[in-house]
Symmetry: C2
Subunit: 211 residues, 2 copies
DNA sequence: CGCCGCCTCTACCTTTGGATAGAGGCGGCC
DNA sequence: GGCCGCCTCTATCCAAAGGTAGAGGCGGCG
């Protein structure tokens, strides 16, 4: 006897990527692409209809809802399909919200087709597949929670990212310039950098500040 | 009598994207995908073999040569194929070097398949297709040259945004530190700011650099 | 209560970055 | 040929930022 096929929903705003996923996955036995969605909102609606086993979800859509938000909306329902993230980006700012939102797996678009198909089957079974770079990142995060900036440090760093000088930040927050320097110096140590621009760059990568 | 088909080379580091391009383009009459390349270096070698009419080139590869560099290398030869950029990014930092390098057209990956096929035919005929957002950007650039940073200025600013010091940027680009300062000073004037962090902030807002 | 983390501030010194004012080379354009 | 924009480089001066090494206040927690 044969297993029922795994039914897929492709959610990506790029027609080319959807076509690529379809081409790669439909040659696999036991996988069927049941639907496509060009926006995150569309994906949420379509996933709620109940005839999908695994959603392949991009994280960034041109506008509107993000992939992480859509993932949260989808997994919040009972009997929700599994959501497998398939995206180009692997910074903490992307991965953490997605995992938080209940994604079952996280793959990068440079993955070879075999890995993709394998990850889909793994996801359908409710188990997790992580891209190696994402796994590395998570492990590092567990090991060194040193990158935990305090509220005040982040507050200062955000103003730095907006291009303000220490003097201007001090005025804005009603501090002395020396205090601002103190906060920054501690941030630099925690982030392992030695300049304000480098701090902004790595804090952005880590998802500690937005932009 | 029938025209000879247009022979294509797909250069992109994502197997999924290559599959998508292939799926979309091979259903078009008169188009044939002759080869694929997963790195920019590979694309240069393959394009030199002489049996290609149009190269569809991504701009960012995981490592090594960039798409813009590969485009320059390809178009430098006599009887070179046309290069059509197909990428996700539309900031000045991406588009200007590519156009500079001799690309015949510039499309974004969210383009509908019909546009893609049309752009390929246009490129094969030696004429240009630009994605609307890219065209807008170029027009604005013509109109208000105030915020028109030069290539070199953007190049330096991107490294500043990555957190590098003037010294480090100088080493990276094989310049003196003084030259880096010159480029930055001019950028600051054009952007109306007076510090590197402020320059990064406003350049990001203006879409001159990514992140 | 005592410890600890966070926030605030001070002082001194070094390094980096920014402002200014040049100059020379090179390539494109009229 | 002459002009102009871009890129490169130099030199000096001043301001800003970073490194180091503190100290005191405050609130939470065991």
């Amino acid at each position: 006897m044969t297993e029922p096929p795994i039914r897929l929903l492709l959610a990506d705003d790029h027609p080319i990527v959807r076509a690529g996923l379809r081409a790669v996955l439909e040659t696999e036995p036991g996988l069927v692409v049941s639907a496509e969605a060009a926006t995150a909102e569309e994906a949420v609606v379509r996933a709620a209809e109940g005839d999908i086993d695994v959603v392949l979800m991009d994280l960034r859509f041109g506008s509107g809802m993000t992939g992480a938000e859509a993932t949260a909306a989808i997994t919040a329902r009972p009997d929700a399909p599994r959501v497998l993230i398939v995206t180009t980006y692997d910074t903490d700012a992307d991965t953490l919200p997605a995992i938080e939102a209940g994604a079952t797996g996280y793959l990068l678009k440079d993955a070879p087709p075999e890995d993709l198909a394998a990850a889909v089957r793994t996801a359908a079974a409710g188990r997790t597949t992580l891209a190696p770079t994402v796994a590395d990142r998570l492990m590092n995060r567990m090991r060194m929670p040193a990158t935990a900036l305090t509220l005040r440090e982040i507050e200062v760093l955000v103003l730095v990212a907006d291009g303000l000088s220490n003097r201007a930040i001090a005025d804005r927050l009603h501090l002395t310039e020396g205090t601002v320097k103190s906060h920054l110096a501690r941030s630099y140590t925690k982030l392992g950098v030695d300049s304000r621009t480098a701090a902004v760059a790595t804090a952005t990568d880590l998802g500690l500040i937005r932009r």
